[in-house]
């Protein structure tokens, strides 16, 4: 008798623990924001880019997502403070510059020469468009350095 009661109680308490865990998990999931996530690798002429910024601007207007390119060429997108982004079509920009020289008076550094051609930095001229679907997306961005020399000759950092 007492054994069966114990058994029953144990089972019910396990049920409760399970239920509460489930509730907590559901609660946390409910707080999670954006429906899609995007990550991938950015390459220039086949080799991974080591630095720079990726921007995803929705074609129909709305909030832009951005990611920083890591030293292995990989990036992950965030929308402001939130991970991920909305579903839809995006115009994509990539800008990568050599690090600028340090300012002797402690001011911010002007960016160095372009690593990726300048037209990739502006949505209208980048020619990069991708569709982002619900769930996790892998979008690898392949760039070509064509036109880079002309970009670096025409304009340099100035104050």
């Amino acid at each position: 008798m007492s054994f069966t009661r114990m058994q029953f109680e144990r089972n019910s308490s396990f049920g409760l623990v399970k239920l509460s865990t489930l509730l907590t998990l559901l609660f946390l999931v409910g707080c999670g924001g954006k429906p899609a996530s995007v990550s991938g690798v950015v390459t220039l002429d086949g080799g991974p880019l080591e630095r720079g910024t990726v921007g995803f601007a929705p074609t129909g207007g709305g909030m832009r997502a951005a990611g920083i390119i890591q030293s292995d060429g990989s990036y992950t997108l965030k929308t402001n403070r939130e991970k991920g982004l909305e579903v839809g079509d995006y115009l994509v920009t990539v800008a990568s510059r050599e690090p600028g020289a340090e300012d002797p008076n402690g001011g911010p550094p002007m960016p160095g020469p372009y690593i990726t051609p300048r037209h990739y930095a502006i949505a209208k001229t980048s020619g990069l468009q991708f569709n982002v679907e619900k769930g996790s997306n892998t979008i690898n961005i392949e760039l070509s350095s064509e036109g880079l020399e002309a970009d670096n000759k025409s304009k340099r950092g100035r104050r």
Binding site: E9, V17, S20, R51, M63, N80, Y114
Partner: protein
């Protein structure tokens, strides 16, 4: 006698909790706390946001009171400028040279920020008087700004440094743990200085365009050109034109209640946050509202991508309008409306009741 013999038996039956019962109780308490804690945290954050909005209100009222006395807004004095060679770039590309400044002479690029002007209105007269040698020293002819750890001139001179790390609570957003005196502010590297969470709106100038930064927001899709590096023509209320022609309320033809004056920022996201210095107290609306650099270490490299407005209050950024009312802007605001609100005389039909 019989009762006392019965007592131990009764205790054995009813007075102890089993381990299972305790676990159940703990589980129930756990669920309740899990439900309650976010609510408590949200309430605390709401309180911090109200305090922050109160700070902004005080700063905005100080600006309005200053305007009542001086008939113009407080202004920045640049730390590096080409007096005699500066101009307003016109829409057709022509240049309109600036007439000599009434407020700044050739060798007086001292770097005074607009917040210094309103210190008396913020009941900090002593601080204002103490800082005065930094921007108004009758005995010195050369007052160009320089601030290194152990020497400097203009606002960076050593005999006013004792005031430079004075962190006023009215300039500090309580939700931003990075808003404390810091030693990594641009132009003040190595010197520990006070920071501000509240910055003047320079308009929607495309920061970084003049030196072709290629940043996320450094083009005409996001902001106006020219930007402040190239000409005097900012279309907001603070920054570069100020030492030539400080703005007055009559020039705000878009309406005081439709024009952003002061907005919030997060110090560790934008190291241009020195409170009393002219390159630390303004930001532009050319970038997406509430944009945060995804990696903190890039704040130093892509600094032109973060000179906008943002806050740690969930999903919103607060602004004081030019009429000193404090408004809450949703981070999802249409960028064109946001830009229109930031200009003083753009002639756009934009109000907060969108």
């Amino acid at each position: 006698m019989q009762e006392s013999r019965n007592l131990p038996r009764r205790r054995k039956l009813f007075s102890a909790f089993t381990l299972v019962e305790l676990l159940v109780v703990i589980a129930i308490i756990g669920v309740l706390v899990a439900l309650l804690l976010p609510a408590v945290q949200a309430a605390r954050e709401a309180a911090r946001r109200i305090q922050c909005s109160n700070n902004m209100k005080n700063v905005a009222l100080a600006v309005v009171n200053y305007h009542d006395v001086k008939r113009h807004l407080p202004f920045d004095i640049n730390w590096s400028t080409n007096f005699g060679g500066e101009y307003y770039l016109q829409a057709d590309g022509s240049k309109d040279p600036a007439s000599p400044s009434k407020y700044v002479s050739g060798r007086n690029r001292n770097g005074k920020g607009w917040i210094v002007d309103i210190l008396p209105q913020l009941e900090q007269q002593a601080m204002y008087d103490g800082m005065k040698l930094g921007f108004d020293d009758p005995s010195k002819k050369i007052m160009d700004f320089l601030a290194r750890a152990n020497n400097g001139s203009g606002m960076g001179r050593m005999d006013v440094r004792e005031f430079m790390d004075n962190q006023l609570s009215v300039l500090t957003c309580p939700s931003d743990p990075s808003a404390v005196p810091r030693d990594d502010m641009w132009w003040w590297t190595g010197a520990t200085v006070a920071v501000t969470s509240y910055k003047g709106v320079a308009g929607d100038t495309a920061v970084g365009k003049a030196f072709d930064a290629g940043g996320l927001w450094s083009n005409e899709d996001w902001g106006s050109i020219p930007d402040r590096f190239e000409s005097l023509g900012c279309n907001g209320l603070f920054w570069k034109f100020g030492y030539y022609d400080p703005i007055n309320f009559r020039q705000i033809s878009d309406g005081l209640s439709n024009t952003l004056m002061i907005g919030e920022s997060v110090v560790e996201q934008d190291l241009h946050s020195m409170a009393y210095f002219s390159d630390g107290d303004w930001a532009s609306c050319n970038m997406q509202l509430n944009y945060f650099m995804p990696n903190l270490e890039n704040v130093k490299i892509d600094w032109y991508d973060v000179r906008g407005f943002r806050s740690l209050h969930p999903g919103v950024v607060q602004f004081a309008m030019a009429d000193a009312s404090v408004q809450v802007l949703n981070e999802g605001i249409d960028h064109d409306i946001y830009r229109a609100l930031s200009t003083r005389d753009g002639g756009e039909v934009a109000g907060l009741d969108f």
